[in-house]
Structures are given as structure tokens and as C-alpha cells.
Symmetry: C2
Subunit: 477 residues, 2 copies
């Protein structure tokens, strides 16, 4: 996959190509590619007039023979889907297109995450070539013993690489033995919940806005989850008291409202933990993605004994890896390991590959590229908003993979309906509200996950969003 | 990695080479390789006089430039570790060697699996090149959506590939929707235990010989595990009655005694399940590895409503993958999915790669090659035994990854000590005995996992084993 990016969505054909490929297997590679491109043109994902990638470039990206690409193009030209203009390459012909569909991830559980809904990283820019190169180096050099069952806490190479990376990038202070590998935040939170329960904990304060999936993990373990109000300075950690054993926070970038936990609230949280012996569960889900200034370091680095830190490869590499990490205070390591079980559950080969990916610098490069792309998308979102409805604004800080469009009170549901009628499935803030949260703190807003859309679909998605907002303004004026 | 194999251990240098490489990373590839070879010669893993692989061959195997290999050889020749003889290649010089150490897997949990102890597949013959090729095809062709969170039950491509493979090879009868992907038998058994507990089950009969790790999974879930006696015809399924809700069996190849469940006992088990509504948990851990005749099909195929089938990639590909599968009766699918959780935990990329590995035929080829190698090792083990102690014999059938050397009553512990004093860590049958098993059914024996040793270490391991058995005979004569 190419590392170059340009701002104009439709002029990036050879990255765009990667999104479109389906089921290229065995002897049917050319037929599969041809059908995928045909379907992409039919559905509008490849809009009329857009330039196709040069055959050499696409062949390199896909690891296919150049002749396969030229034959495929030839067939589509013969069928009228593509046109070849002398000197200016191959373009998508002006054929009738179906209504532009919002891309979605059909494999996603329950189908709840679609379109601009949060929870997904930009899958399309998974660093295929670099990941494969790291895997190749690992497989060439891994010793005999690397192919065994692994260490139940996680592979030492990965834990060591993460200790260095997290110290450098997030200010996390931990030895490799405190880092436990898990398959995702969902898995890690479940392990921690069981460890806390086993030690007698009864309740974990949870932010009044967050993913219900994670609240469920806690309640399924038998923990109570009293809500902690959230405002524009993050969670109200000044309200934490001795009635809760732990607090689940998103200090770097509140999910989904986008606030950063303010310095005084950070101090409140740490003092609460020190005073009561409570534990802060720091969900640093997108700590690498900050656009406006140097990121604020993790809380964990300030008080490693009172903070359990959670990070993930889902945003920085891909959710499909199912690799994440937790940094656990030393006294809790045995209980978390006991919860994880006697046998490793995370692929050792993937762990070694990720360690190599980090050590080689590919991880940092990949995060940097995504950061640029997401920042640009956020700017484009701001521009769309100011065109569609100058009174509306993005709330939350310049960071992360999602942004919130604040709406006048009572407009959330109508705007979501206007979007849905245009085929754009989005989430409103109400979807993330803690069921026991104080109604007084309610905010109306649209949650826009600008990382979940492929580069090719992004411009049309933005137009749909602008149109939904304009329509809604008119209807309610 | 080459697929060719020869029986004489020391003449297989270029496979041997793969076992020896450690930490070949970034710019230090040559230095790492040189140090790994130096260490291998020092420790005796590369014995004096053995022929080094041709540089071209090793370069191909490791994916390195040929010049890297020749420079490395040159350095070792200069240092006196290797000698180059005109016309006959490069050989290990006759330097002083340390005592030959038994290879072990230091990353293994608790360190309990070492030397010939069971639980490990032959890591050394992980099909590095073919696995990488499958990963490359998947990464080149996978659609956008493949890099998301995945389906919590497992990737549909893999489930479909497994449905076909298991029907063809093991006679398993199941639709993809009944196949649930897990990270290993340990994980899958835990999910099933929780599903059974949630439905009110209280006890699971377990064979009187088996891995304590798995008994622990059941008891940790709150299940009782009454023992079921094992003899030369497998588990005494004729003793199953209405007091247990399920029975954990290894019908194809009892672990570790090696018996096949006899036809009448298979019928007893199925009748018990049908009569009482009980569930058979069929652990088909090495069903692909049968040497004497066509394998007996899985019990599951006979009565899919009363059997949950468990298989794993740990023996056929590598434990490091952490991928396994369970085939669940339809009525139990929701409960097992609920136990697995709302978010997939197994790498989606690995699942897609395994699906491609199966579809391309590489899986079958790899199993076939290993079967040949293990059969040969079993024959060599038989020959060693007949040289060392003609009165001793292997029990269990011609199958699987481990064999048991039956010993005269009372000799097990002394023989294990004799082996340990030679640096060979092995397991005795007593290690696998159910704590509540009837003492009358006790067997003395050594469990030899002939798949856990690299090709290079196998001959010396066999000698040590022969020596331990001979010494023990003398001591107790």
C-alpha cells in the first residue's frame, strides 16, 4: 500500500483501488478483480470520470502481475465501464450509477457500527505491505521456540517493545512484566473487571457518555456502574468519592464528546485514587491522534500504582489484529493474569510481528500518516459544517478519530432521520448516554467517526452529511 | 522452509539452520545470524563435522541475501568455528562443545513442558514460507471490511473452509454457523463449560488420564469432574450414567495413553447421550495424525445433536497461531456465543490466512508431511526401545504426536529420574492421572511426545532416552 496521500479524495485512485477488491483467490484473481471493479463502478464507489490507477502501480499495491491488471482493464474497457484516453490514462466511464451507498462493515457484530458511527478505524489504510514485511522478517528469524504456546501474559518481545513505545509516546512508566497483552479493550476491561471483583470491588464509576458495550462488560461481572457526569472539561472527577472502587475514564479524549480532561480534574482523579485506594482505569483508545499540540501524557505515568492503562492496536494498525495491551499496577498483575487464564489466547506470531512493526519504526510512520489524514478530514468536516450551517460547530478538541457536531436542543433525532433517509447511518450522542445519567447534563449532537470511511467514499459522505444538516434546518425553521 | 525430509538427523543442515536463528532484526541481521550459529556450535546443537547448508539454500529459506550468508560463514571460518573444504562445502569445526542440552520452550507457561513432555507440536517445522504466502494473498485481496472487528463467532470464510475440511477429513457434519472459532482447546472448553453452567449443568465426566489444565478449566467454572476409568480400549463409557451432564472424551486417540475408543464404547457413549440428554465433548486434538490405517471418523458426525467437537491448529500448523474451533449442537450455539462475548478475540487476519491456507491445499500438504515425519519418529522410538530394553513396549495405537512406553509397575519414577539426571525432562503417566481416579487402574509409563523436538535434536534425545532406560534397568535389576 502506498504511503503517499493527497487531500483531494477522488484523485487517489490507487489507494482507492484497495478498498474495492473482494475475494481475489487462486485461479480467479483476474475475474475477481474485474467483478470487484465493475461492482464499484455500478455502485458509485468509483465515480464517473475518476482516473484509475496506473496498471503498474496497482499491480505493485496488490502484489499481482501487471498483465493481470492490464487484462482486467481491457475487459472493462470492452464492456464500456472504463474508457482509455490517449495520454491521460484510464478513466471510469459515464455509466448510470445507483444511489451512492454508505459503506459499512457487514462483518461487524449487530450491525450497529455503520457509516459515520464510531468504533471503527479507517480499515482501508491498513498498512498491508509493511505489515507483511514485518511478518516476513519475523518468520525468517524467529527461533524454534517462538512457535509454541507462548507466555500467558503476552510475548516478552512485544511487552518490551510496548514498554519503550508507551514511555516515549505516552509517558507511561512500566516494566514489561506489568504489560499484559489482550485481544482488545473489551477483553482487557473484562479481565480487569474480574480481577477487581476477585479482590472484592463492587463498583466502577463510568462516564455519563461512553460505549454501552463497555458498561455491559462491567455489569456482567457483577459490578455496579454509577455514572460520572461529563462536561466540556471532561469527567467530573471532583465528584468521585469513597463509594466507588474504581473509575473508568478517557482522559486524553473523552469518548465520544471529545473533551480533554482538564488539569484540575486530572489532579482530582489522582488525589481521589491516592486518598481512597481507588483505581483509575485509563482508556487511552486514541492517545496517538492529537492534532493541535503535543499530546498530554497518560495519567498512568504520574501515578503508576493507582492507574491501569489500556491501549490498543485497533486504531493505530487495525481492529482485525485483535491485539491490545494493558499496563497494570504491580500488585494487580497476578489477579489479572489469573483472569486471563493459564494459556495465551492472543496469536504469538501476530505479537512478534507487532513487536517488529514497532521496532522497525513502521508503527510510528503509520500513525503519523493516519494522523495527517484524520486531521485533514476533520478540517474538511469543519468546512462542510460552516457551508451547511454556520451556526453549528464541532465540539471537543483537535484530536482523535471522531468529532461531535453540537446541535440545538431537540434536533438530534430529526437530523439523524434526515441523514438516514439519505442512506447515511450515524450515531447521536444519546446513543452513548449512561442509562442512569442525570438528564440535566444532556447534549444533542451527532457523532462523526471520520476515520471509518474509506478515502474514496469520504467526499460523498461529507456531501450527504451537509445535505442532511441543511434539510433538517429547513424542516425545523 | 523446505518440505523435504530425510531420516538421518545430522544430514539436514538447512532445516536445522532454521531452529537456530534468534533475533535477526533490522540492520543486525548478519551479526544476529553469526552469533546464533556461534552459539549453536558452542552448545552442540550444531555438532562437530556436520555439514552447513549451502549458502544459496539457507538464503532462500531465510529470505536473506545470499551475500549475507556467505559473509557470515566467512566470519565463522575466520574465527575457527567452521571449516571450508574444497569441493565438499562448509562444515562445523571440531571445537570443544558443552554438554548436549535438551531443547526446551522457555516461553511455555510454568515451564512444565520440556523435552519429550507432551503438549507441544513440532514447532520447528512450522510452514513458514507457505504461511507467509497465504498471508500475502489474503492481504492483497482482502476487502476493506476485512480489517474491522470481525464476527464474534469467527470469520465466515474460515468457518466455511473448516466445515468443508472437517466433513472431508473427520466426517464432521455441521454448517458454518455451528462452528465457533476460539484461541485453543483451553479457550473453547472454557466457553463450553460456561455455556453448560449457564444452562444448569453441574458435572462433566473426565477421563482418568488427561491434562490437569483442562480439568482445572472445568472445576474453575464450578463443575464437578467425576473420573471415568481408561483402559486399553479407551474410556469406560459403559459406566456413564444420569448423574453427569456431559463427558469429556478423546475418542480418536486417548490422551495420553494412546488408546482408540473401541466401537462398543463409542456406541455406549452415544446411547448414554441420547438416553440422558447428556453432551459428549469430543476433543479431537490430533485426529489428523493416524499412521496405521484410515482414521476413524469423529463421533460428532454420527450424532451432531449430542456431540460438541473440538479441533485445533496447534498440532497441524502451530500453537503460536492460537486458533482452534468448536462445532456446537445448534441449540447450544447462542449460549457458547454469549460466553465468548460481544467482540471477537481471535485475529481476523490470521483467520483469513488459515482459511486461505486450507483452501489452497497447503494445510493438507503440511499435515501429510508431518504425519510422515512423526510416523518415522515413532518407528525410531520403537527401534530405540527394542535396542535398549526388548521387554518394554509402546502402548496405544499407531497415531498421534505422543506415545507411551509401558513400564513394569513401580519403575516410572526411577526412570524419570534417570532421564532427568541426563538432562532429559519427561513426563510419567502419573502426571496425567485424575486425582480422584481409582488406584486400581494405574499404569506406569513414560509419555514421549515425539513431535516436540526439532529434527536436529531428535537423534541425541533418542540416545539419552535409551541410556536412561538402560541405566534404570541396571539399577533396579
Amino acid at each position: 500500500m502506498s504511503n503517499t496521500r493527497t487531500t483531494s479524495g477522488s484523485s487517489k485512485p490507487h489507494e482507492l483501488g484497495l478498498d474495492l477488491l473482494v475475494e481475489l483467490k487462486g485461479s480467479r484473481v483476474r475475474a475477481g478483480l474485474t467483478e470487484a471493479l465493475r461492482e464499484a463502478i455500478r455502485s458509485g464507489r468509483l465515480p464517473a470520470g475518476s482516473r484509475m490507477p496506473a496498471s503498474r502501480m496497482l499491480a505493485t499495491d496488490l502484489g499481482l502481475a501487471r498483465s493481470t491488471i492490464t487484462e482486467c482493464y481491457g475487459e472493462l474497457i470492452a464492456e464500456g465501464w472504463l474508457t482509455a484516453r490517449q495520454g491521460s490514462g484510464t478513466h471510469v466511464a459515464n455509466v448510470a450509477q445507483q444511489a451512492i451507498a454508505t459503506p459499512s462493515d457487514p462483518s461487524r457484530a449487530g450491525g450497529e457500527i455503520e457509516g459515520l458511527a464510531p468504533g471503527a478505524a479507517d480499515f482501508a489504510d491498513f498498512p498491508r505491505q509493511q505489515w507483511l514485511a514485518a511478518a516476513r522478517r519475523v518468520l525468517a528469524s524467529a527461533p524454534y521456540s517462538a512457535f509454541g504456546y507462548g507466555d500467558p501474559g503476552g510475548n516478552l518481545h512485544l511487552r518490551t517493545a510496548l514498554a519503550g513505545y508507551l514511555a516515549r509516546v505516552r509517558g507511561v512508566s512500566a516494566g514489561p512484566e506489568q504489560i499484559i497483552i489482550c485481544s482488545g479493550f473489551h477483553h482487557g476491561l473484562g479481565l480487569m473487571a474480574r480481577a477487581l471483583r476477585a479482590r472484592g470491588a463492587e463498583s466502577v464509576a463510568t462516564e455519563s457518555y461512553g460505549l454501552g458495550l463497555y458498561r455491559d462488560v462491567l455489569t456482567e461481572t457483577g459490578l455496579r456502574i454509577p455514572p460520572l457526569a461529563v462536561d466540556e472539561r471532561g469527567a467530573r472527577t471532583d465528584e468521585l468519592d469513597g463509594t466507588v472502587d474504581a473509575a473508568l475514564l478517557t482522559p486524553a479524549h473523552q469518548f465520544p464528546t471529545g473533551a480533554a480532561l482538564s488539569p484540575d480534574r486530572r489532579a482530582h482523579a489522582l488525589r481521589w485514587a491516592q486518598r481512597t485506594g481507588g483505581l483509575i482505569l485509563e482508556d487511552d483508545y486514541d492517545g496517538e491522534f492529537r492534532y493541535d499540540r503535543a499530546p498530554v501524557a497518560a495519567l498512568q505515568g504520574i501515578d503508576p500504582d493507582h492507574v491501569a492503562y489500556f491501549g490498543t492496536a485497533s486504531k493505530s494498525v487495525a481492529p482485525a489484529l485483535r491485539v491490545a495491551w494493558m499496563v497494570v499496577p504491580r500488585r494487580l498483575v497476578p489477579a489479572v493474569l489469573a483472569a486471563k487464564g493459564a494459556v495465551e489466547t492472543v496469536s504469538v506470531i501476530d505479537q512478534l510481528t507487532l513487536a517488529e512493526f514497532i521496532a522497525s519504526g513502521a508503527f510510528d510512520r503509520n500513525v503519523r500518516l493516519r494522523r495527517q489524514n484524520y486531521r485533514r478530514r476533520r478540517e474538511q468536516l469543519t468546512a462542510t459544517l460552516s457551508d451547511s450551517s454556520p451556526a453549528y460547530r464541532l465540539i471537543g478538541m483537535q484530536a482523535g478519530l471522531q468529532a461531535v457536531i453540537a446541535l440545538p436542543a431537540g434536533l438530534e433525532s430529526a437530523t439523524l432521520q434526515a441523514a438516514a433517509s439519505r442512506g447515511l447511518i450515524m450515531s447521536g450522542l444519546s446513543e452513548f448516554r449512561h442509562p442512569d445519567a442525570d438528564r440535566a447534563g444532556e447534549i444533542d449532537g451527532l457523532v462523526v467517526n471520520f476515520s471509518a470511511i474509506s478515502d474514496s467514499a469520504w467526499p460523498s459522505t461529507l456531501s450527504l452529511l451537509g445535505s442532511a444538516i441543511r434539510a433538517n434546518k429547513l424542516a425545523t425553521r
